[in-house]
């Protein structure tokens, strides 16, 4: 297992009596593209701000690169970030803004600015004043800043806001390239599940400041995949019957629920075999859902709990 570059333990943030983050535990491992998914106001930005020291946590621990908070302050230079909307000096040009941050970060090779502008596709806006840039350009410049000094960890809050479809696709490729070629770990938040799904390998679902689930992409695929659900009197007894029918891809969900993931299962044959084995069948239905449905289900389940 890869080392943890970021870990929060019972991270809690309160504003007065309102709890914005409630004991959030998350672990981001080296090489992850870690997606934080939640509705607007779920607490995604507050998690990121707390990690970056922009918001003061009420309680809990934040570990960076395996170091506790007291030791990790000096490691912040290894993090790049874009939180909420990008912000730069309005009267300075795109190039000068990045030059300012090169000086600030101690980058002496200024050719990195041209390279970043080229990679982000805004080299034509180099001499444009920041205040005259479009929303998409500003967003790309914000991402350029987060990647400027080859950070080990990049934290991006809704990075595709304001980007057109081509821009979104470009950014997706850029994140993957940095992740694969330069081993940059990403933490990306979004309320657009489908976008995060295409880049992330691990996900954190959050609602009302509480973690609902931390899950890998494989688990997510597994939970959302299409199949047929059989409600039977005893799934342990039903399993050999299913296997005898030549079905290998199935899952026992509970004592009475069994999912078959065969694309076109012989439902009549399975039902006959189950009845012949002395089992009762309570129901048969299609399973599987879209990411949105899965998230909605989790939120509803959590609120019922």
């Amino acid at each position: 297992m890869q080392e943890a570059v970021l870990k929060t333990v019972n991270l809690t943030k309160k504003y007065g009596k309102s709890t914005v983050l409630d004991s959030v535990n998350l672990t981001v491992r080296k090489g992850d593209i870690y997606g934080i998914i939640g509705k607007n106001g779920a607490g995604k930005t507050t998690i990121m701000k707390s990690i970056l020291g922009l918001a003061n946590k009420t309680s809990g621990e934040i570990e960076l690169f395996g170091k506790s908070e007291n030791e990790s302050g000096a490691l912040r230079h290894r993090i790049g970030s874009l939180i909420e909307e990008p912000v730069f000096y309005r009267t300075m040009t795109v190039y000068d803004n990045l030059k300012y941050y090169c000086y600030l970060k101690g980058i002496s090779d200024l050719s990195v600015i041209d390279r970043m502008l080229r990679e982000l596709g805004i080299e034509d806006a180099k001499n444009k004043k920041y205040r005259k840039c479009s929303l998409g350009m500003k967003q790309r410049l914000g991402i350029a800043l987060s990647l400027l000094d080859s950070p080990d960890l990049v934290i991006l809050d809704e990075p595709i806001n304001g980007l057109d479809p081509i821009g979104i696709s470009d950014m997706r490729s850029l994140f993957k390239r940095y992740n694969e070629d330069k081993e940059v770990t990403f933490v990306i938040s979004s309320h657009i599940l489908s976008e995060l799904y295409t880049v992330s390998n691990r996900f954190l679902f959050i609602d009302k400041g509480k973690v609902i689930k931390e899950i890998t992409k494989e688990e997510l695929d597994f939970n959302c995949r299409l199949g047929t659900a059989f409600g039977v009197s005893d799934t342990a007894a039903a399993a050999p019957v299913i296997e005898n029918a030549g079905i290998k891809d199935y899952r026992i969900v509970s004592r009475n629920d069994l999912y078959v993931y065969d694309e076109k299962p012989d439902i009549t044959g399975i039902v006959k075999n189950l009845i012949d084995a002395g089992l009762s069948i309570y129901g048969i239905e299609k399973t599987g859902m879209t990411l949105e449905e899965y998230f909605k289900d989790m939120v509803e389940e959590d609120s019922h709990d």
Partner: protein
Amino acid sequence: MIKLMKADLFRLRKSWILMGIFFVLLIFTVADSLFFPSTRSLSLGVPTSAEEGNWAEDIYQVSNDLLYYYFFLIPVFAIVVRDFGDKTLKNTVSGPVSKSVFFLAKYFMAIVVDIGSYLFFSFAYYFLNRIMNGEGHYSSLSDYSGAVFTHIPLMIALVSAFVFLAFLLKSGAAFNSVTLVWPIASSLIISILMDFESTYDFAVEKLAKYDISSMFINLTLSQDTDYRNICWIVCAVVTVVSVAGGLLIFNKREAS
């Protein structure tokens, strides 16, 4: 800290309008003093009874430094308030710079620009005055230097208080409102207190003598050593409280 100061120096050079206004105002002030030398000063302060001496024009010009109160606001605005206004603060403190380092770098930058400009323009005036207006219009270099350096603790206290207010108020409008009105408001309050018998002594003995405007005049012209010492103590207290208070408030506050 040096990296942030270097970056800010680059930014000040690039966003030259505010700093341009600052330097143009200083040049106009020096030029006015050179071409229209006068021993009278535009000041709200109250001269102390201990004001003595027959000073040359250049020393009176130093006592007229209240204008620097307003000039000093410009670099503090450009160096500190802009970061709150443009919200660029979060880019810096979320990365390589801690909040304490951010505060101290901004503070020292403001001190360097403001005090550096004060010294440069004061001595530029002195030498130009010597060349242009000649004998009878200038003091010895040591007397003039003494007068200028007497003001340094006051100047540092002023810049410290401005930086503190910038971090406290965060918005440009609030910062301008408080700092621009302060000398006039404090003089007005003192005048009102002087109108009442019960508060007259307090107003004259404490408030009027140690008001910013009065200190500008009297630190240079007064021969009262005790008065000067108390002024310097007041300045030191304002400086320490501003820096410590600013650091404390900024570290406790959320940066976004």
